[in-house]
């Protein structure tokens, strides 16, 4: 039996097996060595710890909108009044560029929690401003107008203000993220 596997002698030899086995172990070793070098660029433990933010909402009066930072982004926490909630729920979906019911965008009707970044080119809109002065938002950069549910009503922005993941830890504490 010759030692070299060729077209004329296709039976795998012991050498072939050894090359394959060594190569396989080598690949596993290389992957194990490379993995930490890749993983170290992923968010580290301190960043992950900062990935959720707690907000005390007991101090926000009805009609007030608080801005907090979450994952480096501004979050608008709006304490809506009953007239604002009524007005925003009365809007027919056909009028909306990015149709969504208000109910689908909030957990509790009196609390709107949205990411305060205009979906056009990323500016931070002004609160309680624009055509929907009470509870709505106006982006001064290019004139996008958002209603009391953070939905786009006028202007170049293509989508509603994004809703981050959040839950109510208690009646006075909101956990975002």
């Amino acid at each position: 039996m010759t030692a070299i596997t060729t077209l004329d002698n296709p039976t795998p030899t012991r050498r072939d097996f050894l090359y394959l086995a060594t190569g396989a172990v080598g690949v596993v070793g290389a992957a194990a060595a490379i993995w930490p070098l890749v993983s170290q660029m992923s968010p580290d433990a301190s960043t992950l710890a900062a990935s959720s933010t707690e907000v005390d909402i007991s101090g926000i009066a009805p009609g007030q909108i608080l801005t907090v930072k979450w994952r480096g982004k501004p979050i608008f926490v709006s304490h809506r009044t009953p007239p604002e909630i009524e007005a925003v729920r009365a809007v027919p979906l056909s009028e909306l560029k990015d149709p969504a019911t208000d109910q689908s965008r909030v957990e509790k009707p009196e609390w709107l929690v949205v990411i305060g970044i205009c979906t056009h080119l990323g500016c931070v809109p002004l609160k309680n401003d624009g055509p929907f002065k009470d509870g709505g938002f106006f982006c001064p950069c290019h004139g996008s107008v958002y209603d009391q549910s953070g939905r786009i009503r006028q202007g170049p922005a293509p989508a509603n203000l994004a809703v981050p993941p959040y839950k109510f830890a208690s009646d006075t504490k909101l956990t975002i993220g």
């Binding site: 930490p36 070098l37 993983s39 170290q40 660029m41 992923s42 580290d44 433990a45 301190s46 960043t47």
Partner: protein, 416 residues
């Protein structure tokens, strides 16, 4: 590079590249078919180990630099952030820190190999000098790297060594202030050390390229110290020495990993886990182990300038070796008297290292002075005298003969 390569590419893409930039041929002639003496022993694997270590330090270093902050108020904490928060940060930091020690362990073996086998002798003098430059750059790099965590040893080691420059007459203080970027080791110093610590390894890589180029002109030295004459004396680099170097690197990695995973702080100093305090000096300032022999020499001379010159001279004298030891016989294997003095020198260097780790008090002071004197006597007196008066053993006719001689003596039945 002695002459064009014999590489003839088969694949059309390879042909295309080769005709425009013959890099494939260069790799082929340098690392595939290059003839190496067939009698090389494992002391010759440390060049490959060092190349591996340089790449390892650069990769882990670049990655650590993604998370480290070189500001004196934030540096220490950023290292702890790496250790605690960054994914595998503890591993990257320990691998890089122990890696510096492993790098120097390998470089000393590599240098001692050169000293024993006469690898610095003609025609390899420039190769030796390039190696010396690499060693200097490595010492500078490691020194600056150790400052970066901004612990007590980082700060005070930096203060002691940079203050040495004030020993230079007339311009010493001005130079030291310029080095510091201020009136003491401070934020300005730390920032520039970070920049230079990142830069220098790439300079080292460049000199390593020259080092390998200079090596490839005559080819490697070998344990017999006689130059190759025919093809019978050599074997192609691949597969014989790629396999040998690969195996040696694997064994080295086991040794390295033992430190990195089980005793990562053994070679370091506990005081470096205390944040730098410019107002409080630790009771004993010690550099990392790889500087200890030179540290001992520095402290052996009672004068500030004298100690500085002695320490510098002790490093520089290595460069003069090719002209101090002029014996025509290269290898210590055929120089029985030189061999004894070589091992005495090794002992002297190790003992100097031990003295360097001790406080400069009591019996250590006199011992340090004697060992320092002997260090210089070895280079300036013993080696030149040996070259002139030593009786050397007869050399084998060729490398192939040297190999056959060995087999003949160990198993007479197989000879022939």
């Amino acid at each position: 590079m002695s002459g064009h390569s014999t590489y003839v590419p088969k694949h059309p893409a390879a042909k295309w590249l080769e005709s425009r930039l013959p890099i494939l041929g260069l790799m082929h002639s340098s690392f595939i078919v290059f003839p190496n003496p067939r009698n090389l022993n494992y002391w010759w694997t440390f060049g490959g180990i060092l190349s591996f270590m340089l790449v390892s330090q650069i990769i882990t270093g670049v990655v650590l630099a993604m998370h480290y902050t070189p500001d004196s108020a934030l540096a220490f904490d950023s290292v702890e952030h790496i250790m605690r928060d960054v994914n595998y940060g503890w591993l990257l930091r320990y691998w890089h820190a122990t890696g510096a020690s492993m790098y120097f362990f390998a470089i000393y073996i590599h240098i001692f190999r050169g000293m024993y086998y006469g690898s610095y002798k003609a025609p390899r003098e420039v190769l030796w000098l390039l190696g010396f430059i690499i060693y200097l750059l490595s010492m500078a790099t490691a020194f600056m790297g150790y400052v970066l965590p901004w612990g007590q040893m980082s700060f005070w080691g930096a203060t002691v060594i940079t203050s040495l420059f004030s020993a230079i007459p007339v311009v010493g203080d001005a130079i030291t202030t310029w080095l510091w970027g201020g009136y003491s080791v401070d934020n300005a110093t730390l920032n520039r050390f970070f920049s230079l610590h990142y830069l220098l390894p790439f300079m080292i890589a460049g000199v390593v390229v020259l080092h390998i180029w200079a090596l490839h002109v005559p080819g490697s030295n070998n344990p017999a110290g006689i130059e190759k004459k025919t093809d019978k004396d050599t074997l192609s680099f691949h597969p014989y020495f790629t396999a040998k170097d690969g195996f040696a690197i694997a064994c080295f990695l086991v040794f390295y990993a033992w430190f990195a995973f089980y005793i990562p702080n053994y070679l370091g100093h506990a005081d470096n886990y205390i944040e730098a305090n410019p107002l409080k000096t630790p009771p004993h300032i010690v550099p990392e182990w790889y500087y200890l022999p030179f540290y001992a020499i520095l402290r052996s001379i009672p004068s500030k300038l004298g100690g500085f010159l002695a320490m510098f001279g002790a490093v520089l004298i290595l460069a003069a070796l090719p002209w101090l030891d002029t014996s025509k016989v290269k290898s210590g294997s055929y120089r029985p008297l030189f061999r004894i003095f070589f091992w005495v020198f090794v002992l002297d260097a190790v003992l100097l290292g031990y003295i360097g780790s001790k406080p400069p008090e009591g019996v250590y002071v006199m011992a340090g002075r004697i060992l320092t004197a002997y260090y210089f006597i070895h280079f300036l007196v013993i080696l030149p005298l040996l070259s002139r008066f030593e009786k050397t053993k007869p050399l084998p006719a060729s490398i192939a003969d040297a190999v056959l001689e060995k087999t003949k003596s160990s198993s007479p039945a197989l000879a022939g």
